[in-house]
Amino acid sequence: MDFRWDLIAEYAPFFLKGTLLTIGLSIVSILIGTVLGLLIGLGKMMKRKLLALPFKWYINFFRGTPLMVQILLVHFGLVPLFLGTTNAIVAAILALSLNSAAYIAEIFRAGIQSIDKGQVEAARSLGMTHVQAMRYVILPQAFKRMIPPLGNEFVVLIKDSSLAALIAAPELMYWGRAMQGQYMRAWEPYLTSAAIYLVLTLSLSFLLSRLERRLATE
């Protein structure tokens, strides 16, 4: 098989631009997703079943349907409804944030539930209110446990952001597809983008495992 390195060299600046957008999209989305996810997680944990229901269905919807559908719905349906125009970057960030929020909500809930219930009991028996026990005892411990799965969600988000190529947001995958369209070749563009994604996700995993180790010995 002839592998055209020259084509890759030619497209290198675009892969670079695309990689930067991929990173940007992912960072913005994980940040928004985390904030939203915390709120939704809290919502789902409400004692009153009826109030918790919308949050439960939010999570069901975003975890139960393909991200591709969500991106297309947001891009062609939701964003034009509000902005009056399509905007690929906005749609990508919105869809990725909404999607990851559903997963982060569950991470948050699991983090809180993983704390031994003896901890709340000890706090309550000292006279703390439920809110105080949450704030001083449960949440600080839960947040620490949330870091690994949150990092994992970030890795997933980086990969998922490739779907933004479908709505012509010029991220990494988009340029892979553009290159494929220009030269009608499959291996060069897709192996190149696969390699870049791999570098991104593996470096992130590496950083995360170091962070985890540091937190563990703290």
Binding site: D116, G118, Q119, E121, A122, A123, R124, S125, L126, G127, M128, T129, Q132, Y136, V137, P140, Q141, K144
Partner: protein, 240 residues
């Protein structure tokens, strides 16, 4: 002073406490014994409302905690609790564990709470461990910190739920020593334990529970040597 009147607790369909009537007088040390599953922990947890009470009343210093209008958090500051599993806060140092509730609940200034905390640590023999995290302590040390933490709220009553049964045998003594000291100082205490030596030495009264009721009660010596009920006899024969 604790008054428990016709206390009932049902989990689902499981009637765990059937009808408990007990009065613990000020400065009294009451030891609760009984087989596993007899409801000892549940009884203790009902006294400071860690479990909702199905029926009956519990009065702490004359205040009915089952009354909806009672501020349960306020009552709980009067009742310290020590758990079998210590339940120290692992993300806080020993002194922070002790200071947390006084500062956040009682609004004691941090400086004062720290001084008080160090004094309590001295009392349980751990002044050198103030700045370490709980993970680096042995079981016996953890339990002594837990006792100091409960005492920091200056409770009038202390509840102990098998405080030594998660400990290696050679650490049991150091915890019991602290508890004996506390009893001597006149603390009102309810202690669930299998340490018969402790019961004999400092207990004013022993309650033997089985199947959700108090089967027999009496002075330790009397009850251990002359149990009246068949169930008590068979339990003591296994344990002593």
């Amino acid at each position: 002073m604790i008054e428990v009147k016709q206390l009932k607790k049902i989990f689902g369909t499981n009637e765990v406490l059937k009808e408990i009537n007990v009065t613990v007088k000020p400065q009294e040390v009451v030891v609760v014994i009984g087989p596993s599953g007899s409801g000892k922990s549940t009884f203790l947890r009902c006294i400071n409302m860690l479990e909702t009470i199905t029926a009956g009343h519990v009065l702490i210093e004359g205040i009915d905690i089952t009354d909806k209008k009672t501020d349960i958090n306020k009552v709980r500051t009067e009742v310290g609790m020590v758990f079998q599993q210590f339940n120290l806060f692992p993300h806080k140092t020993v002194i922070e564990n002790i200071m947390l509730a006084p500062v956040k609940v009682r609004k004691v200034p941090a400086e004062k709470a720290r001084a008080k905390g160090l004094e309590l640590l001295r009392k349980v023999g751990l002044e050198s461990k103030a700045e370490v995290y709980p993970d680096s302590l042995s079981g016996g040390q953890k339990q002594r910190v837990a006792i100091a933490r409960a005492l920091a709220m200056e409770p009038k009553i202390m509840l102990f739920d098998e405080p030594t049964s998660a400990l290696d045998p050679e650490m049991v003594g150091e915890v019991l020593e602290v508890m004996k000291q506390l009893a001597k100082e006149g603390m009102t205490m309810v202690v669930v334990t299998h340490e018969m030596g402790f019961a004999r030495e400092v207990g004013d009264r022993v309650l033997f529970m089985d199947g959700g009721i108090i089967v027999e009660e009496g002075e330790p010596k009397e009850l251990f040597e002359n149990p009246k009920e068949e169930r008590t006899k068979s339990f003591l024969s296994k344990v002593l």
